[in-house]
């Protein structure tokens, strides 16, 4: 049973862990294993209200969320690997964009942990508020409150960072 189940869910688990944890994080394999076992344990709670892939992704995200929170300040909360190594822009733009991504991640890393994660999960990775609430172990109302506050806090931080704000303004004008 374990083999087929793993083969079925592993791609979603790996993709979720990879996206949230960052590329080439040394904990990647361990977290995939932990998430796969956690998925087994939580399968009793799956009632078919969403697809199995969505359920799998939510469980894996929860594992990553708890893992990063546990490792806390020992390492950068949002690993620099999350920043793009290969941003599809022109050769001239590439270093600028990489620098902007890193700056955004730095700001997120300085924010209240739950707010930053709620912002990332919802606005960047596309999880619904219900799913964010499940992943972070909060109520939907709390997740919504964190999202609003997280957005506001990030906006204020970037607004007070003229270089980053200017770069984002330019990007918006170009789009």
């Amino acid at each position: 049973m374990a083999g087929p189940f793993y083969d079925r869910t592993r791609p979603i688990v790996a993709r979720t862990v990879h996206r949230l944890l960052g590329a080439s994080d040394s904990d990647f394999d361990d977290l995939v294993q932990v998430a796969s076992i956690e998925l087994l344990h939580s399968l009793d709670r799956f009632r078919g209200e969403c697809s199995l892939d969505t359920w799998t992704s939510t469980i894996a995200a929860n594992v990553v969320y708890k893992h990063i929170r546990r490792r806390g300040l020992e390492r950068t909360i949002f690993a620099p690997e999350l920043a793009a190594d290969d941003v599809p822009q022109t050769a001239h733009q590439r270093p600028v964009l990489r620098g902007m991504v890193e700056r955004v991640m730095q700001h997120l890393g300085q924010m209240v942990y739950e707010r930053a994660w709620t912002f990332l999960l919802h606005d960047v990775h596309g999880y619904s508020l219900d799913e964010v609430a499940n992943i972070t172990g909060a109520t939907v109302a709390a997740a919504q409150s964190r999202l609003v506050r997280g957005r506001h806090e990030l906006h204020e931080r970037i607004a007070s960072d003229p270089d980053l704000a200017g770069g984002l303004d330019v990007l918006e004008d170009q789009s």
Binding site: M1, F5, V101, V104, H107, L154, L168
Partner: protein, 373 residues
Amino acid sequence: MIEGGQKYARLAARLLIEQPRESPPADVRRDEVVAAMALAIAAKTRRRRIVMVSVATLAAAASVLVVLRLAGGTGLSRGTPGAGSALVVEHTTGTENQLVRAGSTQPLTDLGILAVGDGVRSGEDGSAVLSFGNGTRLTLSSSAHLRVDDLGSARRFSLFGGHLQAHVAKLGQGERFVVSTPDSEVEVRGTVFRVAVESAPSWCRDLTSGSTVRVSEGAVWVRSGDKQVVLQPGETWATPCPPPQTMHAAETAERAPVGPSGSAAASVRAGTHKVATRVTRVGEPVLGQDPFPVAPAPVPAPVRSGTPVPSQSFSHLAEQNDLFSAAMAAERQGQHDLALRKLDELITHYPSGPLSESARVEQQRILAAQGLR
């Protein structure tokens, strides 16, 4: 949707979203992860089994409680006062426990409900626990015979033989709990006590059987003949051996065991066969055979009319008592050889002692019983 006032948050999210995504690393630990998952499944199965067994056990216990409660409710529906008036056979051990109902006997089964007039006989290797819904429990030891006389506001039982331990819940207004034995009546008001009916000691010739009551908690009223006494926790009452008519009054007073309170000797009335009331505090000598021995109970000297008792016998009376008690205790426990040895020792060392004749009788009785076996 991100509001306009949070423009930079929206732009930052777009910047992060538009990052190119690398493919996750290749799966190089598949077998390891699958093995770990298989272990997790096995552990989960084990946990489920444990949970199921626990739930089943709890459910069974709950069912028993429900039955007991319902049994109590049945009593209420009959209009008897107080909750839990039905008497339920909560638990039995052994195979020869019998229910005597309307003159016929049948095996006593767990969770059976007893009615007025029913008798319970526990087998030689058996015991039975009877309980009311209000928490009152009666524990019958082996070879006991109890009859239910009344289950109304007064709960009455007759104990014809064996031991009965009663844990009586606090009684309500107008309720009574009474256990009768052939020679006494025990009434309680929320207490723990034991009552026993056994053969009288051989030296007590005028008594065929005697009752013993020991109180653990609360208070117990014991009525015997025209006497009534209240037993407090730790106290024991036993049917006294009536002194022979020919016994000298002075001898009686001298030989009766005297406790610290001095009440024992005073309560024995010489020259009459009327049953007297005798209360013994913990640690005091008990006149009758004690079925619940805490410490070896010395046996009083039998009184023989017109027989002068050597002074030596008095000086070693405690030893004789101990020997005789030990012999009787061994006999009750089925250790016949040990009982014979003790009796022989008593006869050899105190051939003219006050217990020697009783010892000889007991010897003959044990030997005869062995011959029958």
